[in-house]
Symmetry: C2
Subunit: 232 residues, 2 copies
């Protein structure tokens, strides 16, 4: 293992720590030295991405670029960002670095294929900003998938509070509201549900397994990073 | 939160990812921006610390110092190292940096006090090198604790293989051998057991809770780091 993965994280910090855990557990390895070298830049001070996009909050781009510079200086060869909403700034970040930045929506598309759902209606859960920016709709529609998203009430009463509970370390309480919305999307015809905010898989993991395929954007990004690290 | 914690990790990578998770979960915070900024330098290529100390293997110090330089360059204000055995090089590392390096044995002493075991016989589990270097014995004896350690057969047949299973991502299988040795130390009179290798708490967490106090060196170091980050 000679390539070093740069992880631009802290958005939130629990999601990026969990990404590091999944990166390790999904890597075939018998001893330390066979795992992937990585530097995690965990800066929870990055201004809130949803507030920036939807409510005129502070632009997170300068903080994101500062982290990128740090990961470049550390010798990293590619960047993974375990925050879906931050991918609303993917183009600006990619324009500012020569390092490839893995795209979490591309990674999640590969995960849907791996799960045996290569097309058809799927549910997409994410922050209000991720859905409003149409990150998944633009990335997946026209490639055989169609996206069902929670309605305004489901977002306001369940998804957004569920994400907030994870960010406040109240992971177990996040399960019920998040799992209920995932089930409703399936009831409306989704063949699988994309957990398109890196807090959502943490809440969903805190309760009984859902009885339908879920594409976990943390695992998807970890698998994409492992493919990068092990490629020539 | 303005201080940045540097985490010299990758030894092993699962332990340092778990450290980041525990650092986050143990921090009182309601939103991302209240968590501790941190940079994790996860370099699993650091030569094996036990082999270096006990079998003439490659010296890990150059790799450790390289990581320290990276964390200094990233703007970190203190260093935590979620690997007990690496603390055999604590003095050399501390001599090479102006940043304070938290000491995992000091952190674990504070954890024993928090658990209500401020003195008396305690069990210490760790790598063969950690026990041979007497990191815990030197740090804890003469302060009211006395250390019981596994015998040679217990180390060779249970503790060392259990640590190896965690490093190979076979965490569930590590529970039985590690839990059995912890129980034996209590049977010999230990009032608590120090999990003095950062792989051991991962194995112990994979099965039923042990019916006696355990001082988890990962949680201990995370609490010490939080105290540092929140102090003036």
């Amino acid at each position: 293992m000679t390539k070093i993965l740069g992880v631009l994280g802290g958005m939130g910090p629990l999601a990026s720590a969990h990404f590091m855990l999944r990166l390790t557990l999904l890597t075939p390895a018998e001893r330390d030295q066979e795992h992937i070298p990585a530097v995690l830049w965990s800066d929870p001070r990055v201004p809130d991405r949803t507030a920036a996009r939807l409510a005129g909050g502070t632009d997170p781009l300068p903080a994101l670029l500062h982290g990128l510079r740090g990961l470049e200086a550390a010798g990293c060869g590619a960047i993974a960002i375990p925050c879906n909403t931050a991918h609303g700034w993917h183009a600006e970040m990619q324009a500012a670095t020569r390092l490839p930045i893995l795209h979490i929506v591309e990674a999640t598309a590969a995960e849907l294929e791996r799960l045996g759902v290569p097309s058809g209606p799927i549910g997409v859960m994410g922050t209000a900003a991720t859905l409003a920016m149409r990150l998944y709709q633009q990335g997946l529609e026209g490639r055989g998938w169609s996206c069902l998203v929670p309605d305004g009430t489901e977002m306001a009463e369940r998804v957004t509070p569920g994400i907030g509970l994870v960010k406040a370390n109240r992971v177990a309480e996040a399960y019920a509201p998040l799992a209920e919305v995932a089930q409703r999307l399936v009831d409306r015809g989704a063949r699988a549900v994309v957990l398109g905010c890196t807090e959502i898989p943490l809440g969903i993991a805190a309760g009984p397994a859902l009885p339908f395929p879920v594409a976990d954007s943390i695992d998807a990004l970890a698998r994409a990073a492992i493919r990068w690290a092990r490629s020539d």
